[in-house]
């Protein structure tokens, strides 16, 4: 199957990530995040993406020039690209967090990107010895934290980069 292997180079556009200054910029997103940002509730947006594979927007696909893709709309969609590293691989990837609805969506993309199964949140506490990767992130204080503990919006406001590490002895 022609999947991008974890050692292949990124063809993602490296955009500077936009700091999340106001919730209004998020509300202008094409994708409707129907969560109440102020209250930080973790009600994820309705799953209108039913396909089991993640969006590949970050991989310059489908092959269409942006002129036609945008049509009339002239979307200034907010983006928030963060670096993602997998332990043991020197070359990182970049991912647009705002292109995802929530943790599930993010994990799906990362699983696909790095060709692995990633544990996050509650799964980490259960026993899955064969799944060796765990998703962590570096927050604004520079600390390495487990992904999934805080509501998605709160996560978006503190995450600086992502790291996929080995869970334990494997």
């Amino acid at each position: 199957m022609g999947r991008a292997t974890s050692s292949s180079y990124s063809s993602i556009d490296s955009n500077n990530h936009q700091s999340l200054s106001s919730s209004s910029s998020l509300s202008q997103l094409k994708r409707d995040l129907s969560t109440d940002l102020r209250l930080g509730l973790s009600i994820s947006a309705s799953q209108h993406n039913n396909s089991s594979t993640p969006r590949v927007q970050t991989l310059d696909y489908p092959p269409i020039q942006s002129l036609v893709a945008e049509g009339n709309e002239c979307n200034d969609r907010a983006t928030f690209f963060v670096k993602v590293y997998m332990e043991g691989i020197p070359i990182g990837r970049k991912l647009d967090l705002l292109a995802h609805d929530g943790y599930d969506d993010l994990i799906r993309t990362l699983d696909y990107m790095f060709n692995t199964n990633i544990l996050w949140g509650a799964e980490v506490d259960t026993k899955h010895p064969e799944k060796c990767h765990v998703l962590t992130y570096e927050d604004e204080e520079g600390d390495l934290m487990m992904v999934g503990d805080v509501p998605w919006e709160m996560f978006l406001s503190t995450v600086k980069r992502l790291k996929i590490t080995r869970a334990g002895p494997c």
């Binding site: 199957m1 022609g2 999947r3 991008a4 292997t5 050692s7 292949s8 180079y9 063809s11 556009d13 094409k30 994708r31 209108h48 993406n49 039913n50 396909s51 594979t53 969006r55 590949v56 927007q57 991989l59 310059d60 696909y61 489908p62 092959p63 269409i64 020039q65 002129l67 036609v68 893709a69 049509g71 009339n72 709309e73 020197p90 070359i91 292109a99």
Partner: protein
Amino acid sequence: MMNYFPDEVLEHVFDFVTSHRDRNAVSLVCKLWYRVERFSRQRVFIGNCYAISPERLIDRFPGVKALTLKGKPHFADFNLVPQDWGGYVQPWIEALARSRIGLEELRLKRMVVSDESLDVLSRSFTNFKSLVLVSCEGFTTDGLEAIAANCRFLRELDLQENEIEEKKNLWLGCFPDSCTSLVSLNFACLKEINLVALERLVARNPNLKSLKLNRAVPLEALQRILMRAPQLVDLGTGSFVLDRDSDDSETYRKLRGTILKCRSIRNLSGFLEVAPRCLPAIYPICLNLTYLNLSYAAGIHGSELIKLIRLCGKLQRLWILDYIGDKGLEIVASTCKDLQELRVFPSDPFGAGHAAVTETGLVAISSGCPKLNSLLYFCQQMTNAALIAVAKNCPNFIRFRLCILDPTKPDPVTMQPLDEGFGAIVQSSKRLRRLSLSGLLTDRVFLYIGMYAEQLEMLSIAFAGESDKGMLYVLNGCKKLRKLEIRDSPFGDMALLRDVGKYETMRSLWMSSCDVTLGGCKTLAKQMPRLNVEIINENDQMEFAHEDSQKVEKMYLYRTLVGPRKDAPEFVWTLV
């Protein structure tokens, strides 16, 4: 017998040989024919500007009047080629200007064009008539001013999908009053325009046949322009919205009346902004249309779109957004019996999987439109059964480009790869020249392509295949292959190096995010000195060692007679 004819007779005979390939073939017959052909050739096509130098062009074809040049590789359209990669037209224009070439037509695609180039161009060739720029960049409206002001006999200025920096809005006014020779003008890719200058220009150019406006031309202005140019054959509307302030019904009535007089319009495009209630004004010309391009008309959908389509019984080419849906495509199939080319673009390519067309729409089209020979279809999903049906209904494909928005999606009904479906297409369309694949695909599809796609010239592969065998099937089987572009597929050095001579029979090969290594590319470059093997390495992490075992991010190789290019940027390494 031909050798006893004087050169003039040979030349006269060659005048009837117009296609580039035929003329190339003629020139290979013998030295005499080569000589006569080269002095009489007026139109030259250079598919890769780095394959040859301007000096050699001028030397061989001193009589050239019309030149086509292409720069960046095709995948540049999809952000896979970094800025400043190359493709500069400046050296060509400088060399042509220095020579005594009487250039009259220049057509450029994916090249970097500067204002200076345009300025030199405009002042160096007194009979310059036609400038067509497609997907170019690097110039501003200053360059357009020079063209407008200095090309006294300009007939055609066609700007398609370029990135143009708009400075002052004066360029259109730079056409002198004496300019009355325009036949074709397309500025749809610009954001602004000087309306007054436009209307005056149209008024004094009675031979104008093709006019494509931009978003800044409102409906009222369109009406006035059409009044002056009822002879138009090719119209691209700008904005098709009535200004709130104006008297709607009066303007609409005038527009409708004016359009009724435009009996020659056969090609219609634009509608960059549209108020659907104004659309009935164009209904009278729909029945004569042979080409309709609504790919920018996001404002036309639903019943308005259907109403419009139902009137276009003579369409041969249709470009639309996927708003049309499978049901809409069924209506196209029952209305447009002469349809030859269909392009369905995604309205929301990066969206949440709502592409409104599926295999159903395509099958309907194939049933209703057996003359279909060119397809570009972005869709949600595809099945093998559908492709097999399409192959059976339409055996005349020349171009078949399918893009499933999820690039590795299998047949959703059987969960199988789409190998059999594409296999059916290549087996049935014996004249297929261009193919783009998508969906879940194994090496098998490439076996079929190698076996059946005998006329295939261009193949685009993304996220497909399982092993080197896939690529080898193609390289071995497709004898007429000219351009091969591959991304994110597991093809490596073994496939790359099996038949290195093949690449001299092709224009170019692009491979990105595949498994070819630096060592493999170096080996290839060493063995084939007449190929430029270029590695694009954008990563700023230059500190990792350039080991031969490292996989190459992007490789672009092409045959050339002039060695490594001297204008390559830092991030492009030409291996030797």
